[in-house]
């Protein structure tokens, strides 16, 4: 196990993608997650660290070694790709054992290691079957076992290991993977396009936008303090509501005005004063909004807003309910973490807290801090 340091790495991948001055550290024993929409550069970074692609400039260090120009097999890293590439003619045992070949271990030791990892990933019963006879979820576990069996690797690179699974299995694998990572306690670089996977698994989260790192930090921090509209939209449990508006001054109050409603934001933070008479975008996370079915009692002036609207539509997702509340033609998504039934057209009050709102400068799309 070792620390990975990527320093100022630049690599041109053609007209659509260039990795630009990528710098980050994946700490020892931690899981560092690269998150971006497709073609954001995460696979490129994985390949460069694994030694499958060369850098144009920059350095890659693993522990105290400079591995920038080493051959893949000299780097002592293990890698799993989204495309599983299991050997169809070998059984599961042989597939998992294949990375151990180069180490010339005694057969008893190979058996021990294969069985240990297969046991951890709950595929012991499949060891002597061919991959073709397994379910999608089982094949994924075989590939994951093969990637993790090489116990002397100093770094494990996993490029979208759960992407091909169906939603129900992916959710349970995610939790299992979290347990597994804790047990094996290795340095991992994990790429995914799925924000929920990223938020759930990461010790450190790195968000990429078209080849550039836009934000890195703990998942909580990025979720709470997204630096711009792109990050706020990507990093969430459900798509964030974005509402165009402007900031105005009325008497001593600073007001955020949108077509749907207005709210007083004088107490938000001092910097909003600099944006008086400018256009801004309000961001409201659906999971941080609430709905009241009855009119709230007379409100003290407080940081809690109640806005009247009506239910446009609702949908039940798993054990949650997404409610679409319409306020003067603006539709706002609210995620309730329970199952609730609504009648379309019924009057409700959207409820949210001043501290939970995001404001972005409409022109630059950057967070107003």
């Amino acid at each position: 196990m070792a620390k990975l340091v990527v320093e100022n790495v630049t690599k041109k991948y053609g007209p659509a993608l260039t990795l630009e001055k990528i710098s980050f550290t994946a700490e020892e024993g931690q899981i560092t997650v690269l998150l971006s929409p497709p073609n954001g550069g995460k696979t490129g970074i994985c390949k460069i660290v694994a030694g499958l692609d060369e850098v144009d400039s920059g350095k890659v260090y693993l522990g105290d070694r400079d591995i920038t120009n080493l051959e893949p097999k000299e780097r002592n890293v293990s890698m799993m790709f989204q495309k599983l590439a299991l050997y169809p003619n070998m059984n599961v045992f042989e597939n998992i054992a294949s990375p151990l070949k180069a180490r010339h271990l005694p057969p008893s030791e190979v058996k021990k290691q294969v069985e240990a990892i297969a046991n951890k990933l709950k595929i012991s019963h499949t060891l002597y079957r061919k991959p073709g006879t397994l379910s999608g979820g089982e094949r994924q576990r075989v590939a994951l076992s093969r990637a993790l069996v090489k116990s002397d690797a100093e770094l494990y690179i996993l490029d979208e290991p759960l992407t091909n699974l169906d939603a129900k299995i992916r959710a349970s694998m995610r939790a299992e993977f979290k347990i597994l990572q804790k047990e094996i306690n290795q340095t991992m670089l994990y790429a995914t396009p799925d924000p929920i996977e990223a938020l759930s698994l990461a010790d450190k989260l790195i968000v990429l936008d078209r080849g550039k790192i836009v934000q890195q930090g703990t998942p909580e921090d990025i979720y709470r303090n997204s630096v711009n509209k792109f990050v706020a939209t990507l990093v969430g449990y459900y798509p964030i509501n974005l509402i165009e508006g402007s900031i105005i001054e009325r008497g001593k109050k600073i007001i955020l005005q949108t077509d749907a409603f207005e709210i007083e934001i004088s107490k938000l933070r001092n910097s909003v004063k600099d944006y008086i008479n400018s256009k801004v975008t309000l961001g409201l996370r659906p999971e941080l909004l609430n709905i009241a079915k009855t009119e709230p009692k007379t409100q003290e002036p407080s940081d809690l807003f109640y806005i009247k609207g009506d239910v446009f539509e609702f949908e039940i997702r798993g054990s949650d309910t997404v409610v679409y509340v319409k306020i003067n033609d603006q539709i706002i998504r609210v995620l309730e973490s329970k199952i609730t039934k609504y009648d379309t057209g019924m009057t409700v009050w959207l409820q949210f807290n001043l501290k939970d709102i995001y404001l972005f400068d409409a022109a630059s799309e950057q967070l107003i801090r």
């Binding site: 939790a175 539509e313 199952i339």
Partner: protein, 376 residues
């Protein structure tokens, strides 16, 4: 307005090469009431599309009967059934205008021109297609195409509207709007709608009743509320909800004339089930089901609570999913869904789980069938 009745409908596919039979659907009996939306929900390969095709007349069943009201339609060709079909991918004639696309089913039937004009106008208005009637269908967005296909399905006012995942290929925004329109159409059109999907949120949201299928069999035919609260089998319990119900092995024990359910491997948790002992005694083994969102957690021991160690905490903005390691079987991990708070347990912390009685469901392990809905 017509009710659709399925009587013991089954379908077997025979492969002549290997002399192999595949049972796609078995013993489907249900009544689909008029003016309602009935969903057929299940994972891929469960037999839902086969059932829909049998109702449409595209592929008659190998056994059983299908009635529209009192009329036996089992072997009637599609055209004589007055049923319209809408597929996942919209079938739209690219080189025709939107108007002609909508008019097509009426033209085929030889409806008079004036009547066609009137009906196309009505339908287009209803679906918000009026301003593009003269446009060629080619190049229109997928959401609009699906609307055109819907318009063509409803323009001849079919008695039965059959929908095969019509929304699943659309982007979330068009899906939202089209689903709303679909609801309005079905309500105002006096048609019986059958909606096939693998997506539980579509079914739970849109349907008045849902038939949940797995491996060719209907596990439950019920309202969405009941399917969620009182799943008829352990499959439905697991399949509905994200994550699904926790299913825990239990045993029935007698003590001083009373009967208790005890969780296997856990010594100090039991529930008085004397009221239902006659039913439960018939089961060799019992499974306790409880949804992750109904379990309460505490840091201190409370009477009749179960000790566990928190293995995973996944935060979801306003709630968290916890994986709790316990001595339960067959799976020693219990999933808990709880609102986010400062009091949330940390990884490796010991906590206590309490199962509120009113949310406990008891199943027969062997058949998987629901036996007891516990009440206070």
């Amino acid at each position: 307005m017509v009710k659709v009745v399925l009587e013991n409908v089954g379908k077997v596919f025979k492969s002549s090469k290997e002399a192999k039979e595949t049972i796609a659907v078995k013993g489907f009996t249900a009544e689909f009431p008029s003016n309602k939306v009935v969903g057929i929900l299940g994972p891929s390969g469960c037999g839902k599309t086969t059932t829909l095709r049998a109702i449409a007349g595209l592929d008659p069943p190998s056994e059983g009967k299908i009635y529209f009201d009192d009329k036996d339609v089992t072997y009637l060709p599609p055209i004589e059934r007055d049923a319209a079909l809408l597929f996942q991918f919209a079938v739209v004639y690219d080189n025709m205008t939107v108007f002609d696309n909508l008019a097509f089913p009426l033209m085929v039937k030889g409806v008079e021109k004036e009547e066609i004009n009137k009906r196309v106008k009505e339908t287009a208005e209803f679906l918000g297609l009026s301003n593009i009637l003269k446009k060629k269908a080619k190049g229109l967005p997928a959401g609009i195409n699906q609307k055109i296909a819907l318009g063509r399905a409803i323009i001849r006012k079919p008695k039965v509207l059959l929908l095969d995942e019509p929304l699943s290929s659309l982007d979330p925004e068009s899906r939202l709007y089209l689903r709303r329109e679909l609801k309005n159409v079905i309500r105002s059109m006096e048609t019986t709608a059958v909606y096939v999907t693998h997506d539980q949120s579509e079914a739970m949201t849109l349907c008045d009743k849902i038939a949940v299928m797995n491996e060719g069999k209907v596990h439950q035919y019920d309202t969405p509320e009941n399917i969620y609260m009182n799943p008829a089998t352990t499959f439905v319990a697991w399949f509905i909800g994200e994550p699904g119900m926790n299913l825990i092995d239990c045993s029935l024990e007698e003590s001083e004339g009373k009967y208790y359910i005890k969780i296997d491997g856990v010594s100090d948790v039991s529930f008085d089930v004397s009221k239902w002992s006659d039913i439960l005694k018939k089961s060799e083994k019992i499974v306790l089901g409880i949804r992750p969102e109904f379990i309460t957690i505490t840091k201190a021991y409370k009477k009749n609570s179960m000790k566990g160690k928190c293995l995973v905490v996944e935060s979801f903005g306003s709630f968290a999913l916890l994986d709790i390691l316990t001595n339960c079987s067959p799976n020693n991990i219990i999933k808990v869904k709880t609102p986010l708070s400062d009091d949330l347990p940390k990884v490796d912390e010991d906590i206590y789980l309490k199962f509120p009685t009113e949310y406990i469901r008891l199943f027969d392990k062997k058949s998987g069938e629901l036996r007891v809905v516990m009440t206070e």
